[in-house]
Amino acid sequence: MNKSKFNITPFLFIGPAVLLLFVFSFAPILVSLGISFTDMNLSGLANWSQINFVGLDNFIQLFQDEKFLQAMGNTFFYVIIGVPLAVASSLLIAVLLNFFNNWVSSTFRVVYYVPSITNIVAIAVVWSFLYNQEYGLFNYLLSLINIDSVPWLEEPVVARLSLILLAVWKSNGVSMLIFLAALQSIPKIYYEAADIDGANRWHKFFKITLPSMSFATFFVTVTTLIGWLQFFEEPFVMTNGGPLNGTNSMALFIYQEGFQYSQFGYGAAASFVLFAIVIVATLVQFKLRKTD
């Protein structure tokens, strides 16, 4: 066999894909890395000669910008509470659904999946009504058992938790499907063997089910973590970052700087900070998995 032919064929196959990936993914990342070192704004966009190189100024300014630091703190708050909650609840739903194997299972699979494919704006309208402090359903239900009205979206910490609740509800569908697929691919013989050994339900869950799903769990955790670090839609449509900047996330901050105020350089710098955090968080997870 001709050696060089052997070498070139795979490249021919992946060439177009790599090229597209480069043009639409890597090149924009590189360009925005370049932009993050400049003071590019709207007039710079129209006339490139007005763009100045400012070195690390944007980054220095970012870490002195109270609003950005607050957004970063909020994002960590979302991640620390949201990720475990989202992973655990979708796992729980998947296990419960797997328990039944009839119409109940398929009906609820649809019920839990629907939020994931519903338009976020429609969701925001409905949830704004639910959360409304005056006539929202949640406060009405609480009033029935004599609990004072909760300022769902009006107090920074409560508002963050409200958004987490909404996001967990919305994101459960996809993770649940992945868990369900993993659950169904666990060979039955393990459970049969455990039955013979006299293991109870908890033993089987912790010794067989969870370990067999470790890859699915890892995958869900990584994607969920990345998703929550880029938390954007919920604060964007529900609170626009308020009250008192209490629900602003890093991704929303980037949007505000970049597209509302047209500070492209500053926005690009912020997005690189976020990029770095996402990469580090993901690497840490891979590292932890290896040590398993």
Binding site: N2, I8, N47, L244, F259, Y261
Partner: protein, 410 residues
């Protein structure tokens, strides 16, 4: 062997051509290529049918592309970045500075004498002010917009203001009495996210923004008085701080009998709460030292690299005509920028609309500087700190001045 390398190259180049081809499609010049067609970008979809009359008169085909306000900013950004835009475009008054700085528009200064309807004397002075940036005139006013007080006549009569409150003292008095009616009853709705409202309060206390002075502007006493007034309504429970009921519901059940809004609200109230007919009215802004309201609205501009300047200007000339402006008011209730149009009985004899006409006599424009948007947003955050977080007003304003100087120095 050589052939294979060639093949590889070929595939790569084909791929590149495909990709680049996809990026560059979309026409080589601004607007449409046909000589007798102009493209117009607007944020009001009704314009599409409205221009039929002009098409019949002039024989020029007008391609109207309606962009929702929410997407308009992004869409304009793309047009600026690529240099490919329409021939004529509508621009909101508050976006003038930002996009003019980026050189989006053709300078119309030299054309003003050529078209009779472009005469600045035809329009409200404060509207013309917002068409100017850096000694250029970048647009011709199309419609204007201002804010007035909407109030419930029956409820205000009960507290002694059947004709509506004249001054801010009256408003405070009425609102205090109305808020005392019980729990969940308020006197007035004070906008918390409206960028213009805090500036209106400051103007009414004699404050003016001078471009040369930068952050020092916000040290002038009138500005602080405006902020204090804003805070008073929340501090004393006259206005609700939280989101609360939907405004029309609160207006209709009487829990918020006063609010500030623009002309479009007249139709909305008539449509959505028709049962309130005869129980509400509009009043010009309450007075402190003056009763200046903001002027907003939109202008017609010409995109900088269009090849059809004459056609574009002719279209704008038609849109600026008093008769067209009355017809446009008839179509969507947007207020004419042309003062002659206001003499038409349709506007002059409508009580509510003529209140807007009266208010337009005392309006002013927010500063036409590119940094305004960021400055105003910071101010809203500052007010939030004061109203929700009990921040000290002096401290908060000092912090705000620091923010402004860093925004202006960027």
């Amino acid at each position: 062997m050589k052939q294979n390398k060639l093949g590889f190259l070929l595939v790569v180049m084909l791929g590149a051509m495909l990709v680049l081809g996809a990026c560059s499609s979309g026409g080589s010049s601004g607007g449409s290529s046909d000589e007798d067609t102009i493209t117009v970008w607007t944020m009001t979809p009704e314009l599409e049918d409205f221009v039929k009359e002009y098409e019949d008169e002039s024989g020029v085909k007008v391609e109207v592309q309606a962009i929702p306000w929410d997407n308009a900013h992004d869409k304009l950004l793309t047009a600026v970045a690529s240099g490919k835009g329409p021939d004529v475009l509508q621009i909101g008054t508050t976006w003038v500075a930002e996009f003019a700085e980026a050189g989006t528009f053709l300078d119309l200064t030299d054309y003003i004498d050529e078209y009779p309807n472009f005469n600045p004397d035809n329009f409200y002075e404060s509207a013309v002010e917002t068409t100017k940036y850096d000694d250029q005139t970048i647009g011709i006013p199309w419609y204007v917009d201002t804010r007035v007080l909407y109030y419930r006549t029956d409820l205000l009569e009960e507290v002694g203001y059947p004709e509506g409150p004249e001054t801010w003292e009256d408003v405070k008095d009425a609102a205090t009495q109305l808020a005392a009616r019980g729990d969940d009853q308020y006197g007035i709705e004070i906008p918390q996210v409206d960028q213009n409202f805090p500036f209106m309060l400051a103007w009414e206390h004699g404050w003016q923004y001078e471009e040369g002075e930068g952050a020092a502007n916000f040290e002038k006493p009138g500005f602080k008085e405006g902020v204090e007034l804003h805070h008073t309504f929340f501090e004393e429970g006259m206005a609700q701080l939280t989101e609360g009921k939907q405004l029309y519901q609160a207006f209709s059940d009487g829990s918020k009998p006063m609010f500030f809004s623009g002309p479009w609200e007249i139709n909305s109230i008539n449509e959505q709460i028709p049962e309130l007919e005869g129980q509400w009215d509009v009043h010009v802004m309450p007075e402190a030292e003056n009763n200046n309201s903001m002027i907003g609205g939109a202008h017609w501009t010409v995109f900088n690299n269009t090849e059809k300047v004459d056609q574009a200007l002719d279209f704008i000339n038609w849109m600026a005509d008093p008769e067209t402006q009355v017809a446009w008011y008839d179509t969507v209730t947007e207020l004419p920028a042309n003062m002659e149009a206001w003499e038409d009985p349709k506007l002059a004899e409508d009580d509510k609309i003529s209140t807007f006409g009266e208010q337009l006599e005392s309006t002013q424009a927010v500063p036409v500087i590119p940094e305004f948007e960021t400055m105003a947003q910071e101010l809203i955050d500052t007010l939030e700190q004061i109203n929700r977080n009990d921040a000290d007003i002096d401290e908060a304003l000092k912090e705000y001045r620091n923010q402004v100087s860093s925004i202006l120095s960027k």
